[in-house]
Amino acid sequence: MPAEPVKFAVPKMYQILDENGKCNEAEMPKLTNDELRKIYENLVYARMLDGRILNLQREGRCGTYASSLGQEATQVGSAFALGKDDWLFPYFREIGAHITRGLPMHLYLLYWMGDERGSKVPEGLNDFVISIPVGTQNLHATGVAMAMRLKGDKKAAMVYLGDGATSEGDFHEAMNFAGVFKAPVIFVCQNNQWAISLPLSKQTASKTLAQKAVAYGFDGYLVDGNDVFAVLKVAREAAERAKAGGGPTFIECVTYRMSDHTTADDAGRYRTPQEVENWKKRDPIERVRKYMEVKGLWDEVYEKSVVEKANKMIEDDVREAEATPPAEPDDMFDYLYDKIPKNLADQKAEVLAFLKRGA
């Protein structure tokens, strides 16, 4: 027999709820009606808050912002699979995950408005902060998961990454450590087809991202990322497996970045409107609505209440973020170390004296 390369069959994408709201009930994750509604409301709140931030940015009330439009199901579905004791590591495009975890969203706003205090996550909430450097967060989550395992805690860490992030060395090292140490970590890859202007086909020659797990000896799943139930189902099983000592899971969620990369980007330069249009048909929220309608869980009255509630929360978020008094210059010195070293204290005194003189 001649030498043959390693053989591998491209996997099929897992789906429960299709684009028309048709559901494979046999596969539905266990959810109470209240939970179903909660998921729907999170999806709506995520999309609406996201849209509001884009507006704030346009009005100059917020800095550069990375929209989650179109990726809500991936974010809400995955985060919904976690318990309070589990840890979550975002990158920078997870509004739906933060909402689902219960982060006070005025903090999220504050961060994007350019204020470090937005990253002061409330005590008790095991959510790490946004990672702007692509890929690096995978190692932090893996480290937390390794520590969970060492301590014998039955918890899991979930980390988000983009399709582009799979190219970074840190992604690789994290996947490898996770596999070797059977760390209870779940890699949720938001494959939104683009990394700024780079389409997936130029990011990697591998047909799917899910198959990258083969390199690390653990399971990879290919999931419809616009199907909140499929994401939840696979993420929930991954979390259970992780907590039972089964090690890590990689989940590729196939979704689409409906907006520009950030407010500083113009996607019209590198992709066709047609492509965006096509993905509109696969909207992640629309299909949940249809599904709930059939189930008798959705009607116009309910929709109105959901939107009103979201609007109210958003107004509160914005108000609270904007009402935050400006940070003091002291802050840039006071939080660097546990105790401020003398050299830094001298610099701080210099700045304060300088500012006083100026005033």
């Binding site: 350019g114 204020d115 582009g164 190219s167 940070a327 610099q347």
Partner: protein
Amino acid sequence: MIMNMVQAINSALSQEMERDPSVVLLGEDIGKDGGVFRVTEGLYQKFGDQRVIDTPLAESGIVGTSIGMALYGMRPVGEIQFDGFVFPAIDQLINHAARIRNRTRGRFSVPLTLRVPFSGGIRALEHHSDSPETYFVHAPGLKVVVPSGPYEAKGLLISSIRDPDPVVFMEPKRIYRAIKEEVPEEEYTIPIGEAKIVQAGGDVTVITYGAMLKTVREAISTLNDKYSIELIDLRTLSPLDTDSIISSVQKTGRCVIVNEAAKTLGMAAEIIARINEKALLNLEAPVERVTGYDTIMPLPKTEHYYLPNPDRIRQGIEKVMGF
């Protein structure tokens, strides 16, 4: 032709690519998108995807494969998207690009240029406003070049691309579009390793580079009547033009150095050390450092507290003058 710095750099890249088929560009989003700062705008359309190469999202990959291309006789010009993302590439830069000529006793060399937009003041995201020049200047085998405006940018970039050794070309993003000036359409070079006396003077030497030159100019505009200020734009941080610095300080006896990077082991420290070695007896006052603090560049809302500004620079000048 009146150009801003983005246009000047674009013009340098375009002309060098025309002149020398071995010049290729590599980086994230530099192709169709024209780069996040539009510096490579139009080059993909003009030279195609074999010369303007959109790479996967991996900085070590960009520098490491550029090294390979350079070994094979090409002249790669890599782009790192923002300062904060150069760190994953530092191993390839310092342990490899910088050392290959020396360790092979000249058999192999790495004529690589790495463009790195850097420094703050544009209200950008975290890790988008850093000033990492110390990491490169301390590393033997690298050259480090920083233009302060469109004219300098074009001439220095052309020199960097033609340089037979690895050059880190740091672009002060804050002045990408903030300065417009006459830039020759044709190609020209500005020698690497030579500082420029921007303004001659006898009372005090002010040394800076990059975006800070503009800030310093602003600062001294209200002091030029009061003091005779000699203003030096370093242009190259490594190798440093010690002679220009020393002769100026020997003349003025007073010196203020302005850099945006953290104070401890920022460029100013090395300059002071060299002044100490060669012009100590000329000093009428301690050399003053007006720099970033030894802390993290803040997010946009408070970055103004961090950045050297005209007031702080003037205060520094007054301090050495009043010593």
